[in-house]
Amino acid sequence: MGAPAAPVGVLLALPQRVGAFLLALATQIGGVTILLGQILRRLNPARIDRHELFRNLNRMGVRSVPIISATAAFTGGIMVVQAAPFVEQFNAKGFIGWAATFTTFRELGPLLIGLIFNGRVGANNTAELGTMQVTDQVDALRALAIDPIAYLVVPRVLAMISMMVVLTILGDAIALGGAMLTADLLLDVDPRIFWASAIERLETWDFFVGLIKSLLFGVMIALMSCYYGLATRGGAPGVGRAVNASVVASAAGVFIADYFSTFVLD
């Protein structure tokens, strides 16, 4: 709980804060890169704990299906509600199917599912690794000659990346279902017209752009959440802080990855 500082203090503190921010950023990027290197080393040759991998696939993937489905369905609906006035004005009912699929595949699906996945799975992962860290369980693994990166991190990272892609495909489908339903109810667009316009104009590439994005987001979230989890220090408040930092860093990472991939993948 910081006290409100005087405006002058804030102004003077700004350069200092930007500096501190850049320093922290450099540390974190360095830490994440080192973690990535350590993971890649363990993948060649691949020695993956199968049991841990399947446990995480289930926990992170299957358990996320309800929230992803609900979010996607609502988002599909919202998309059409927002577009509805324009569709009516320009009499573009023949285009709505294409507009909805294009937006969902290329942008909305991966981004939204990335954000929810970050909140649900990424935060969770940081909390779990962080708790293991502050209760000395990670050191206990080391003492038992078990490599924490190979045992804890690699299966989680693989599970998160693959599940992010799979959940994006599922989310895309459900969002389009929601969009189709809303278009039918609100704008009287026949589902057949909806799909016809999508198939006519959509390119396969649009779909793959989204998948590549979701893969990138998965990598971001997986690396960040493991990094912050293992870097946790300082008891219960430390775990809270780590989760907080991880969620925010992953969200920023997702937006930045989205920005660059949007331009590169065009």
């Binding site: 609502f74 919202i78 929810i116 962080g130 408040p237 907080n244 937006f255 920005y259």
Partner: protein
């Protein structure tokens, strides 16, 4: 919270039941918040402190995020309209309208919820597991009154302010992308002709609602924390997911009301 159920196995039916129970729990906290909003004993400075905390935590983050979002949306819209009508004269006007009516509030609210919601839940959750909340209750300080209400007020006010600032930033970055990628001059891009008073009202009421929802969901999750340091981590997760979900549901509700009562064109 059902979506983030700690148990490894939860049937879909039980999950649905949990969602409803959580929604009820949040509603109860909401009712008590309203009660104390009118009757409560405000500690002087507590709201200002929370407003500062929220602003301090999230303004920088939100500006960066919204700059990227604005660039992405403009780029995607440009791509899309290039295929339909290769005419960019209205892209700025349409973008501005959408931004005000929905995107600035609804898209911005997700990263805002991530930042502010996680902060609220982690802070209150740590107080729960260290028994500070019990100590508060022993001093006739209802935790809803003492902890949630100031955060609620601060989140409504600061959340709205930050979402509006974020909207400006997104508009600016959109303008930049329009100029660089589609050769739309800032002059053409800055076009207020499509914006109505209704859009403004709709956008601001969304921002206000989201600000309140983030504080209530995250406050409730924080107060419901149990189980030591791991519990704080869980509460934080649940606050982020719960707030995002609440925002999406509220968006659909408000947007649908807006469609019928605040005609867009």
């Amino acid at each position: 919270m059902a979506f983030t159920a700690r148990a490894e196995n939860v049937s879909p039916l039980a999950a649905l039941k949990n969602v409803l129970q959580d929604a009820l729990a949040v509603a109860r906290v909401g009712r008590r918040t309203m009660h104390y909003l009118i009757r409560g004993k405000r500690e002087p400075g507590s709201v200002a402190r929370q407003m500062f905390a929220i602003g301090n935590q999230s303004l920088f983050f939100m500006c960066i995020t919204m700059a990227f979002i604005g660039a992405i949306i403009t780029f995607q819209t440009g791509l899309q309209s290039k295929k339909l009508v290769p005419d960019f004269s209205m892209i700025g006007a349409t973008y501005l309208k959408l931004l005000i009516r929905d995107l600035a509030a609804s898209v911005g609210a997700l990263p805002l919820a991530t930042r502010v919601g996680a902060g609220i839940a982690a802070e209150i959750g740590s107080m729960v597991v260290t028994e500070q909340v019990d100590a508060l209750r022993m001093c006739a300080a209802d935790p809803v009154d003492y902890l949630v209400v100031p955060r609620f007020i601060a989140s409504v006010i600061m959340g709205t302010v930050i979402l509006i600032i974020g909207g400006f930033v997104a508009y600016g970055s959109g303008m930049l992308v329009a100029q660089l990628m589609f050769d739309v001059s800032p002059h053409t891009f800055t076009n207020l002709s499509l914006v109505t008073m209704g859009d403004l009202v709709l956008g601001v009421s969304k921002a206000v609602t989201y600000g309140g929802a983030i504080a209530l969901v995250s406050g409730q999750r924080g107060l419901a924390t149990f189980g030591g340091s791991e519990g704080v981590g869980w509460a934080t997760t649940e606050a982020v997911v719960g707030s995002c979900f609440a925002i999406i549901v509220l968006n659909l509700v408000i947007s649908t009301i807006g469609y019928f009562f605040v005609p867009a064109l």
